[in-house]
C-alpha cells in the first residue's frame, strides 16, 4: 500500500461511472415522461395505509413489480402486465421489493378487489389459506361484544371468530391498509412512450 493516489483516483472514477449510469442517466430518462394516464395520486386514507404498509415491513416478503412474460409467468398468475417506470410516480419511497416470499402485490387491488376479503386475510391469513406463512395482524382489529353503528365487521369463515359469539371489527389502521391495497391497481393500458422492461427482446432482429 504505497501508492494511494492511483487507488483513490480509480475508486472515485468507478464510483462516478456507476453513479452516472445507475442514478443520473436513468433519472434523466424517467424525468422526461409524464404521469401515466389512468394513474392517480393516493388519497389521504390510502396514504395512511401506505404508511402502515411501510411500517409493518410488508416489503420484506412482497414485491411490487410484475415481470414480463419472458422472465416469469406473472401475467398468468393474475399479477398483471409488466410494470413500467411510470407506475411508481407517486411512490416515495417505492416499495418494489426483491423478495417473493409472498405474491407480488402491485395489482392486488385488481385481482382481489374485495375490501372484506382483505380484512379477513389481514386478521388471520390462515382462515383462508391454511398453509399461509404470512403473519396475522390481530392488533389492527378489536373484539367487541356487538358491532356499533359504522363499524366494519370482519367476515370470518371456518369458525375462526371469537368463541363467545362476539365480533371482530376493523380499527382505522386496518381500513387504511385495506384501502391502500385496493388502490394498488396498475391495470390501465401502458402509455405508448413509457419506459419499460423489454427483457431481452430479439423479436424481429433474427427474422
Amino acid at each position: 500500500m504505497n501508492r494511494y493516489l492511483p487507488l483513490v483516483l480509480i475508486s472515485l472514477g468507478i464510483l462516478a461511472f456507476a453513479t452516472l449510469f445507475l442514478v443520473i442517466a436513468p433519472g434523466i430518462q424517467i424525468a422526461q415522461r409524464a404521469v401515466s394516464e389512468g394513474l392517480r395520486p393516493y388519497t389521504e386514507q390510502e396514504a395512511r395505509g401506505r404508511a402502515q404498509y411501510v411500517s409493518l415491513g410488508c416489503v420484506y416478503c412482497h414485491s411490487q413489480q410484475p415481470r414480463s412474460p419472458d422472465q416469469a409467468p406473472d401475467g398468468e398468475r393474475g399479477w398483471g402486465r409488466p410494470a413500467v417506470a411510470g407506475d411508481y410516480v407517486f411512490d416515495r419511497p417505492h416499495q418494489l421489493g426483491t423478495m417473493r416470499t409472498g405474491p407480488d402485490l402491485l395489482n392486488v387491488g385488481a385481482r382481489l378487489p374485495s375490501a372484506s376479503w382483505q380484512l379477513t386475510h389481514l386478521y388471520q391469513p390462515r382462515a383462508i389459506f391454511p398453509w399461509s406463512i404470512m403473519p396475522a395482524y390481530p392488533y389492527l382489529f378489536e373484539k367487541k361484544a356487538k358491532a356499533a353503528e359504522g363499524d366494519t365487521v370482519v367476515v370470518l369463515p371456518n369458525g375462526v371468530g371469537p368463541a363467545d359469539g362476539g365480533v371482530i371489527v376493523a380499527r382505522p389502521e386496518a381500513l387504511d391498509l385495506a384501502a391502500y391495497l385496493l388502490s394498488l391497481d396498475r391495470t390501465y393500458p401502458v402509455p405508448a412512450n413509457s419506459l419499460r422492461d423489454d427483457g431481452f427482446a430479439r423479436r424481429g432482429a433474427s427474422s
Binding site: 412474460p69 378487489p113 367476515v155 370470518l156 369463515p157 427482446a201 423479436r203
Partner: protein, 415 residues
C-alpha cells in the same frame, strides 16, 4: 565453547525488523488482454441490449400502425370475426344462426348491417322464413370504425347483392347515434330500421323472475361467514384479472363449479371458503342470477400473447400438438354450450391462462372426461397466453334466454 544459539538469535532479530516491499513490476501482458477483452465484451453487450428496447419499440409502433390502418380487406375480417357463426359462405346454421346469404337484412344495405354489428341482437328474429333466437354480440367495443365499415360493405355486397359501400366516417356517425342503446330487441325493433320485412316474431314479455332478496343480499352484502360475490366478481359479474367473468355463464356450469368448490373437488381457497357457507338453494339462486346477467366485455388482451396464434388455436386448433379447436366444443365464437362447456368469449385473459396452467399442472381436475387436462398439457406457455388474449378480444354474447335454462333445470342431467 561454542555458543551455537548466538547466530540464530541475531537472525531472528533481523527477521523481525524486516519490512516487506514489492518491486515495481509490469502487469503481465495476458492480464491486460483479459481486461481489454472484458471491456470490449461489456461495451458490446451494452450496445446489443440497448437494441432490444429499439426492437420492441419499433414492433409496438408497427403493430399500432397495422391496427390503425387495418389493411385487411372486408373478406378477411369477415372470415376472422363473423364466419365462426354465420359460416364462410353466409349460410348460417339451421335453427341456430341466421343465414346472411339473401337475407332481408343484408339486402337492406351496409348501413343496416353496420348498425346491427354496433348494437348486437338480443331477441327473436325471423330470417328467410325461419325464426331464430337472436343472440349476436355487439362489436362496438371490439372493432373500430374502419373494420366495421369494411365488414358491413362486404356483407351487403356479397350476401345482399347491393353495390353500396360504407366509409369509416359514416360508421362513426352511426356509432354516435346508436351509442348506449343496448342490443336490438329482436326482429320487432329491427323492422323499424328495415322497411318491407316479413312479419317478425314478437318480443316475448319480459319474464324476468324477481331475484330472491336473500340471493341479492348474498351477491351484494355477503353474510357473516362469506364475502359478497360482487366484492370480487364486480357488480354484474364482469370479473377482473384472475377473478373470472360470471355474467352469462350457463346456470348448470356455475352451480356445478360451486358444488365442486364446496366438496373440495376444485381448488381455490377463497372460493372453497365461500362455497362451504352456501346451501343448495343458495347455489341454485346464485347460478341463476349470474346466468341472467348481460354485461359488455370488461376483458382486454393483457398477457402479451400472439393474437394471430390464439385465433388459430381457437378456430382450428393445432393438431401437430394434438390440440383441437376451442370452438369445436365451446360453441361458435366461444358462446359456450350449456351446461358443461362454459362460454369463453370475453373471459378475463389472466383467468383463462391460469386455469389452463392449473389443468396442466393437475391443480384443477374437474373437467368432464379430463378433456381440458390433456389439452392444457399439450399447450406450451406462449400458446396459453395467446389463446387467452384472443378470447379476451372477443365481444361478449348476450346470455341465453331464461327458457333455455328452464329446459336444463327440468332435465334429469346430473350437472
Amino acid at each position: 565453547m561454542n555458543r551455537p544459539d548466538k547466530q540464530p538469535v541475531k537472525s531472528r532479530l533481523a527477521d523481525e525488523g524486516y519490512e516487506p516491499w514489492e518491486n515495481n513490476r509490469r502487469i503481465p501482458l495476458p492480464v491486460i488482454w483479459v481486461a481489454v477483452a472484458l471491456a470490449v465484451w461489456g461495451t458490446a453487450t451494452l450496445l446489443r441490449d440497448s437494441g432490444s428496447y429499439a426492437v420492441a419499440q419499433n414492433e409496438r409502433q408497427s403493430g399500432e400502425t397495422v391496427a390503425a390502418e387495418a389493411p385487411e380487406g372486408g373478406e378477411a375480417l369477415f372470415l376472422a370475426r363473423c364466419s365462426t357463426c354465420h359460416q364462410p359462405n353466409g349460410a348460417g346454421v339451421r335453427l341456430a344462426v341466421p343465414p346472411l346469404h339473401g337475407s332481408d337484412f343484408a339486402k337492406a344495405g351496409p348501413e343496416v348491417v353496420a348498425q346491427i354489428m354496433l348494437r348486437g341482437i338480443d331477441g327473436p328474429i325471423r330470417v328467410s322464413g325461419f325464426a331464430y333466437d337472436g343472440r349476436m354480440p355487439s362489436f362496438a367495443a371490439a372493432l373500430n370504425d374502419g373494420d366495421i365499415a369494411q365488414i358491413a360493405s362486404f356483407v351487403a355486397n356479397r350476401f345482399g347483392g347491393t353495390g353500396a359501400a360504407l366509409e369509416a366516417g359514416q360508421v362513426a356517425t352511426l356509432r354516435a347515434a346508436q351509442a348506449n342503446k343496448g342490443s336490438w330487441q329482436g326482429g320487432a325493433e329491427l323492422a323499424a330500421l328495415v322497411p318491407d320485412l316479413p312479419t317478425q316474431p314478437p318480443m316475448p314479455a319480459e319474464a324476468k323472475p324477481a331475484t330472491d332478496p336473500a340471493i341479492s343480499a348474498l351477491v351484494f352484502a355477503g353474510k357473516s361467514d362469506a364475502w359478497s360475490c360482487a366484492s370480487c366478481h364486480g357488480d354484474l359479474g364482469q370479473g377482473t384479472e384472475n377473478t373470472p367473468r360470471l355474467a352469462g355463464l350457463a346456470q348448470g356450469y356455475i352451480a356445478r363449479q360451486l358444488r365442486d368448490f364446496r366438496q373440495g373437488e376444485r381448488h381455490n381457497e377463497s372460493m372453497n371458503s365461500v362455497a362451504k357457507a352456501l346451501n343448495d338453494h343458495e347455489i341454485h339462486g346464485l347460478a341463476a342470477y349470474y346466468a341472467r346477467q348481460r354485461v359488455a366485455s370488461a376483458a382486454q388482451p393483457a398477457l402479451g400473447g400472439d393474437l394471430a396464434r390464439g385465433e388459430q388455436i381457437a378456430l382450428q386448433g393445432d393438431w401437430s400438438i394434438g390440440v383441437p379447436a376451442c370452438f369445436s366444443c365451446h360453441g361458435p365464437s366461444g358462446f359456450g354450450v350449456a351446461p358443461d362447456f362454459p362460454a369463453l368469449a370475453a373471459q378475463q385473459p389472466a383467468y383463462i391462462a391460469s386455469q389452463l396452467a392449473a389443468w396442466a399442472g393437475g391443480h384443477r381436475n374437474n373437467s368432464p372426461l379430463g378433456l381440458m387436462d390433456r389439452i392444457s398439457e399439450a399447450l406450451p406457455e406462449a400458446d396459453r397466453r395467446a389463446v387467452a388474449d384472443y378470447l379476451a378480444s372477443l365481444p361478449a354474447v348476450p346470455a341465453p334466454e331464461q327458457r333455455a335454462e328452464a329446459k336444463i333445470d327440468g332435465g334429469k342431467d346430473e350437472l
